[in-house]
C-alpha cells in the first residue's frame, strides 16, 4: 500500500507535512539499481529515452517539441530568484527576478550559450515578452517564497533537478524538486506545480521520489515528497517508503513499455 496523502492548502500545511514526515526507509543499493536497469534494458529503444513525472502523468504520451515561453520560463527564473532572495533578505521578488534575467542576458552576451537555452531565448525576444517572463517569475517566486517562509526548518533551493542515467537501457530518468527541507539527518523534498493535480499526480510524485533517491549518492530516499499545487490550493504527499519507490519504478517501466508500443504502432 502506498502513502499518497491529499491535503488542502493552508498557511501551515507545509510545516505540518514536514514535521510529520516519517523516517525514510533503507537506502537503494546496487541490487535495486541493477533490477531497475535490467527491466528498462528489456524494453528496447533505438533512440535515447527520457522518462519523467510529466510523461507518467500524461500516460506515456510524449510532449511536442519544447519551446520557451513566459509560462515555461517562470520556474527557471523563479528558482534562481528565490535562491537570491534566500541569500539576501533585503531583495524584493521583483529585484531578484530582474537580477536573474540580467544574469541570463549577460551569459547570452558571452556567446557561449546553446541556442535552446533560456539565456538565448531571453536575449532573442523583445522587451514586452521579456517583461512577461519576469512577471510570471515574480508570481512564482512570491508564491513559493511565501510557502517556504512558513517553515521552521532550514530549506534550500537545490542547484539543479536530479537525474539518473541508466546507460545500458539508453534511458535517462529526470526528476524535479524546488525546495529541499532539512529535517535532522533526513530531507523533505517539495515540488511546486502549476494547474491542478490530475488523476495520475500521485504516480508522478512517486517517480520524482524515485529519481531523487537514485540521484542521491548514498541512495537515501527523501523522508517525504510534497507536491504543492498553489493554483488549486492542494498539497499531495508520498513518503519515502520502499513500497512507494517500487511503485515509482513500476510506473517508469510501464511508461517505457507503453512508449515502445506506441512507437511500434505508429511505425
Amino acid at each position: 500500500m502506498t502513502t499518497l496523502g491529499h491535503h488542502r492548502y493552508s498557511r501551515h500545511v507545509l510545516e505540518r507535512l514536514v514535521e510529520s514526515a516519517p523516517a525514510p526507509e533503507g537506502p537503494l543499493g546496487a541490487p535495486e539499481r541493477d533490477a531497475l536497469g535490467a527491466r528498462l534494458a528489456a524494453v528496447p529503444t533505438l533512440e535515447k529515452r527520457r522518462v519523467d513525472a510529466w510523461l507518467i502523468e500524461r500516460r506515456a504520451i510524449a510532449s511536442s517539441a519544447f519551446a520557451w515561453s513566459p509560462a515555461r520560463a517562470r520556474r527557471a527564473l523563479g528558482r534562481g530568484a528565490l535562491r537570491r532572495l534566500a541569500a539576501d533578505a533585503r531583495l524584493t521578488p521583483l529585484a531578484a527576478v530582474t537580477e536573474e534575467v540580467l544574469d541570463h542576458l549577460a551569459r547570452a552576451a558571452t556567446g557561449f550559450v546553446g541556442s535552446g537555452t533560456l539565456a538565448a531565448y531571453l536575449a532573442a525576444v523583445d522587451d514586452a515578452t521579456r517583461a512577461l517572463c519576469a512577471a510570471e517569475a515574480v508570481t512564482w517566486a512570491t508564491q513559493t517564497g511565501e510557502a517556504a517562509a512558513t517553515l521552521s526548518h532550514s530549506w534550500a533551493i537545490p542547484p539543479a533537478d536530479p537525474y539518473y542515467d541508466v546507460a545500458g537501457a539508453r534511458t535517462t530518468l529526470r526528476g524535479q524538486r524546488d525546495l529541499v527541507v532539512a529535517v535532522g539527518a533526513a530531507r523533505v523534498v517539495v515540488r511546486v506545480r502549476a494547474g491542478a493535480p490530475g488523476p495520475r499526480a500521485g504516480a508522478g510524485l512517486r517517480v520524482d521520489l524515485l529519481v531523487d533517491a537514485l540521484a542521491d549518492t548514498a541512495g537515501t530516499p527523501a523522508a517525504r515528497l510534497v507536491g504543492l499545487w498553489p493554483e488549486a490550493g492542494v498539497a499531495l504527499s508520498v513518503d519515502g517508503t520502499l513500497e512507494d519507490l517500487r511503485a515509482g519504478a513500476r510506473a517508469v517501466v510501464r511508461a517505457a513499455v507503453v512508449s515502445r508500443r506506441r512507437s511500434l504502432q505508429s511505425a
Binding site: S69, D127, A128, T129, A131, E136, G233
Partner: protein, 257 residues
C-alpha cells in the same frame, strides 16, 4: 525612507494599514461545505461543469467578439508589465508578446486572421485603455509583492464542478497577522452590477485556494477609469457563495456554465 506617492487605485487597495482586521484563517472550511452541498445537488455532468468569473455576468452565454476578448487580454498584459516596472510598450508589441506566449490556441489563431483595419482598430482601442490603466494604477511598489495573472482552480463535488479564476493583480502578503491581500480585476467594459459579483467571486476563490481571507477585492474599468473596491468580510463571502449557488442552479446550455 522617502515615501512614494501612490495612485488613487493603489491607495484604495492599501487603505489604512492600521485599521486592517486580523487575518481570518477559518472561514474557508464553512464556505467550502456550503458550496460542496450545493454542487452535489447539481446533476452530474461529463465533462465537469466549469464556472469562471464570466459565468457570473448576465451575458455569460453570449460569446464576446474576438476584438473585445483580445483587447481585454492585451490590457491585462499591459498591467503585468506595469507590475514589474517595465517600460510602456506599444499595443503592437503587446499583441506580439501575447501571441508568442499563447501558442496555437483558437483565440491566438483568430488574432492572426485580423485584417489591417481590424488590427489598427484593436491597437488604437488598446492604446486608449492602457493610457487609462497607467494613469489610474501608476507604478506598483515592489515591496507589495505584486503577483499578476494569478490562476486558481477549485474542484467541488468530486470534480463535477470546477471553479476557475484569474486575478489580474494581487498585492500584499498572506503571512502577516492582519489581512493584507488585495485583489484587482481590470475590465475594459464600463462597470455594472455584474462586476460586484465578479469582485466577490475573486475573493471567494482566493479564500478557498489559500484558506486566507483577503482584505479587499476591487474592479477597475479602463473604459471609464471607475474603481469599485469591496472590503472582504464574512458577509461578502457568504454573498459570493449565494451568487455561485444561483449560477449552479441554472441548468447549463452546453459545456460551460
Amino acid at each position: 525612507m522617502p515615501s512614494v506617492a501612490l495612485s488613487p487605485v493603489l491607495e484604495a487597495l492599501r487603505g489604512n494599514p492600521d485599521e486592517r482586521p486580523a487575518v481570518d484563517l477559518c472561514a474557508a472550511a464553512g464556505l467550502r461545505a456550503r458550496l460542496e452541498s450545493a454542487a452535489r445537488a447539481v446533476a452530474r455532468t461529463t465533462p465537469p461543469r466549469r464556472v469562471s468569473a464570466t459565468s457570473l455576468r448576465a451575458r455569460a452565454l453570449t460569446s464576446a467578439p474576438v476584438g473585445a476578448t483580445l483587447r481585454g487580454l492585451l490590457v491585462a498584459s499591459a498591467l503585468r508589465l506595469l507590475a514589474v516596472g517595465a517600460r510602456p510598450q506599444p499595443p503592437g508589441a503587446l499583441l506580439a508578446a501575447w501571441r508568442a506566449s499563447e501558442g496555437d490556441t483558437p483565440l491566438a489563431l483568430a488574432s492572426d486572421q485580423l485584417d489591417a483595419d481590424e488590427r489598427a482598430r484593436l491597437e488604437s482601442d488598446v492604446a486608449a485603455h492602457v493610457a487609462t490603466l497607467r494613469a489610474r494604477v501608476g507604478s506598483v511598489p515592489a515591496a507589495w509583492a505584486p503577483r499578476t495573472a494569478v490562476r486558481a482552480h477549485q474542484r467541488l463535488a468530486g470534480g463535477d464542478v470546477v471553479l476557475s479564476d484569474v486575478v489580474d493583480l494581487m498585492v500584499g502578503t498572506t503571512l502577516g497577522p492582519s489581512a493584507a491581500v488585495s485583489l484587482l480585476d481590470v475590465t475594459t467594459a464600463p462597470l455594472g452590477e455584474d462586476d460586484e459579483r465578479v469582485a466577490r467571486y475573486h475573493a471567494l476563490v482566493q479564500t478557498l485556494r489559500t484558506a486566507t481571507v483577503p482584505l479587499r477585492s476591487a474592479v477597475l474599468s479602463t473604459a471609464t477609469g471607475e474603481l469599485w473596491c469591496l472590503e472582504v468580510d464574512a458577509a461578502t463571502l457568504e454573498h459570493a457563495v449565494d451568487d455561485l449557488i444561483a449560477v449552479l442552479e441554472v441548468p447549463t446550455l452546453g459545456r460551460a456554465a
